[in-house]
Amino acid sequence: MTLRRRIIACLDVTDGRVVKGTRFTDLVDAGDPVELAARYAAEGADEITILDIGATVDARPALLDLISRAAASLDVPLSVGGGVRSVDDAAAFLDAGADKVAVNSAALRDPSLIGRLADRLGSQSVVVAIDAAGAGDGWWVRAVAATEETGRDAVAWADEAVERGAGELLVTSIDRDGTRSGYDLGLNGAIAASVRVPVIASGGAGDAADVAAVFEAGASAALLASTLHFGILEIGKLKASLAARGVSVRLPAPGPTPEEVAWWLG
């Protein structure tokens, strides 16, 4: 037995609805976030991530309400990101019921934010999200929903984020986002080989072989969004297929009774 590879269901949310686009644009409606989060957890998702891609200050109270409703219906960890600019923003997410907070653009503007988040929340609750696109012989980080070039090398930024206190990295390939053409194995592999914290691969999942390949490349977890929302993959079947390929995953199973658990605990 060893640590399972995780399947994370991701809900990109704006104005209280789940949306999904391709390469960060062309958004279409994909449903109610609280309902979808609970459904994916019941289907066997190991974790739920909610990213507020609108992330306006005006929408913040609605987002906190959404986090609290989603958390109340979940029995697996919940990560939330989008528009985190300060330690207080992040603490408010945790107070509302999130277990981890993802930070992206604000950390690129002021990398010391990562250390302050880790001091206040603990590294285990700090996820640094990195959106990167390939160019030349490497991958380069973009900020503000992938609209702004930062000039930062993705692997170097990953190293710095971990050094400053990130407990996990959420690595999104801008090139593959929503394309279902497979994860960027080069990007995820290079970062996973460079750091000693879990890498969550994002962008490009199309089928079970894609997920198995990114685990093989070194990712600890695979994030899926549109393939789940549009019914292309179902988590239970995906996990069964991964298990058949020899990947160690947590297989969905009906819960034991309290009597059984008491007996297990002898």
Binding site: M1, T2, L3, R4, R6, A41, D46, A71, A72, D75, V76, P77, L94, D95, G97, D99, L121, G122, S123, Q124, S125, G167, E168, R196, V197, P198, S220, A221, R250, A253, P254, G255, P256, T257, P258, E259, E260, V261, A262, W263, W264, L265, G266
Partner: protein
Amino acid sequence: MIAVVDFGSGNTRSVLRALEAIGADAHLVATPDGLQDAERVVLPGVGAAPTAVAELKARGLWEPVRRWGADGRPLLGLCLGAQLLLDGSDEGDTPGLGLIGGRCRAFPSVENGGPRLVPHIGWNAVETDAAAFDAYFVHGYWLDADPAAVRGWTEVDRFRFPSLLRFGSLTGTQFHPEKSGPTGRALLAAFAAGRLDAPIEVATWS
């Protein structure tokens, strides 16, 4: 009534929510008086041991919780809450409640047989004599506990560590039952229903 000890730790509300979801009569307790009406106590916790100990002491909860456990009353420690049951922790060289023998230690480096990725984050199997089940973990330190108190083990990159403790009426989980799906909920329900109250006959360590 179940008292969830509130010393400002990050997962306190998650634990309360999970207990409420299974229909348990659970309340946050941030003062020693709150323990008076309790039948059972849950000690949650994420983050750093020194901060947790300082917060418990600042709220006057340290000694009442210790006495609760020492008197043989039902206590469930979760993650950091389980680590606090031991004699102490290498994290900041912090003293523990001393209810279960042993010490909380940092994972060894990869070169010394430790896991490649630290903290240990994610789902892993807990193996007991009777069963194996998956649970959700997030921790950088492990329970080097009195073997007589160890009921479950977990392995990461061939490093094997105790993940489930039972000692008298004390239960400690290195994992987070409140985040461990239906199995975690069943464990909380077992505790809430008093099925983990009965003292276990154990040999002492020394």
